[in-house]
């Protein structure tokens, strides 16, 4: 499935300044792994020992994947996947 991954502005130096990265994936986790293949600097920023870091939130079409099936959440063609820093609000 073709999916657009949104990169938060302060992290764009690690994606060649691209605001979005197009990948092909069946799940949220796969999409992030594909992103990291294309832009290896993102790997250690998103993951710690294979686990998504504590202050990274992932949304598929504006829904937090923790309310879906986490990294196993299925992706449909043309879905949007947004990487959102969690330290906001309150």
């Amino acid at each position: 499935m073709a999916v657009k991954v949104q990169i938060p502005t302060p992290m764009r130096p690690h994606t060649g300044n691209l605001p979005t990265v197009d990948v092909s994936a069946a799940t949220a986790g796969e999409a992030l792994r594909e992103l990291c293949k294309l832009h290896p600097a993102m790997e250690q920023r998103l993951f710690d020992n294979g686990q998504l870091r504590r202050f990274v939130n992932i949304f598929i079409n504006d829904e937090d994947i923790r309310y879906l099936e986490n990294l196993d959440t299925k992706i449909k063609d043309s879905d949007d996947l947004a990487i959102i820093p969690a330290v906001a609000g309150g």
């Binding site: 502005t9 992290m11 504590r54 937090d64 906001a88 609000g89 309150g90």
Partner: protein
Amino acid sequence: MSTSFVRGMKCRLCAKIYPVTPVNFCQDDFGPLEIDYDYDAIRAVLSKEKLEARSFNMWRYQELLPTDGEPTVGLHVGGTPLVKACRLGQALGFNNLWVKNDAVNFPTLSFKDRVVAVALSKAKEFGLTTVGCASTGNLANSVASIAASAGLKSFIFIPADLEKAKVLGTSVYGAQVIGVKGTYDEVNRLCTQVAFKYGWGFVNINLRPFYAEGSKSMGFEIAEQLGWRTPAQVVVPMAGGALIGKISKGFHELHRIGLLHDAPTTKFFGAQASGCSPISTAVKNGWDSHRPVRKPNTICKSLAIGDPADGYFAGKLIRESGGWAEDVSDDEIRDAMILLAQTEGIFAETAGGVTVAAAMKLLQQGKMDADAETVLCITGNGLKTSEAMANKVPEPVVIGTSLQEFEAIHQGHREPALA
């Protein structure tokens, strides 16, 4: 010339240092950035005498706040009363109880004026002309008011179902108010996207490291008002979970710069509504991290944050300080609001009801000590959430203008209404 004692911003996870810019997270691990001060330099210049000669508002602790020089907005924020609460103490069973009353904070009657004063002073320093926030109401009021006084344009994002008084108390200042059909957490996610896309100063997003520091002033004031010492127990309402940590940080900073003789040993107790209790649930279950709440459901909308940004740190502080956390039902919240009003004459918003009711529960459970000096943090004003009290207080008795009519009521079965 800069009079700031800020050395930079430091990641709370990896300790990487960043220059002072409007960014809230570490670009290595997404960790929260926190202001890093030169405490030795502050210790050398700040004395109790110097500080006590200043006006009693939050800026008397200016050296411990992250503005670069003099603040430019929110100059009269803070300096709220610490009330000895004997009658409430008697009702709850506490023998040495105080209420820190930010329900009368200036200008918008909640503790949020403290954080906004810092955030918008920073926004001006950064040359930002448009500011905003994601808010459950109190922050909306404060950003709109202080932005208006500073001549800044503001975009305020709120869940569309907020209390009417909180919406009116935002729009009146000329802010662009956007009601979003979703939960606070959804509003917050949208604002994170807007903040970085448009480069605006969102006080609790890209200005969050500065914003959060403003909450320390509640801790500074409590310690100073107690005569430069810290209480044994503090009860704090938790939404995003930042305030409880910043009160603790404030106590420790005062000790570090030599204004407190003894190192703080305060136990921190967190209060939430049962309809949205990710942090208290995590504490009670011994979880390291909170589990987010998708659909909060409580009359206490100001605390209805299902995925608190500081949930992890709040839980850690509560455990490490020897405190605990509790959550309370909507009925318990309303009853506690009435109890606070009728014992101390303080009409707090629903979050105040949460704090009072949680303190009562924690004492009954033996988690709190009845004899230890205790401070309850009241963070917002009851007039903003009057809808929550519908049918809880009697309607006024209406009579004609004659003495006889009054006496008929007075000698009757019910007392004249208080309203």
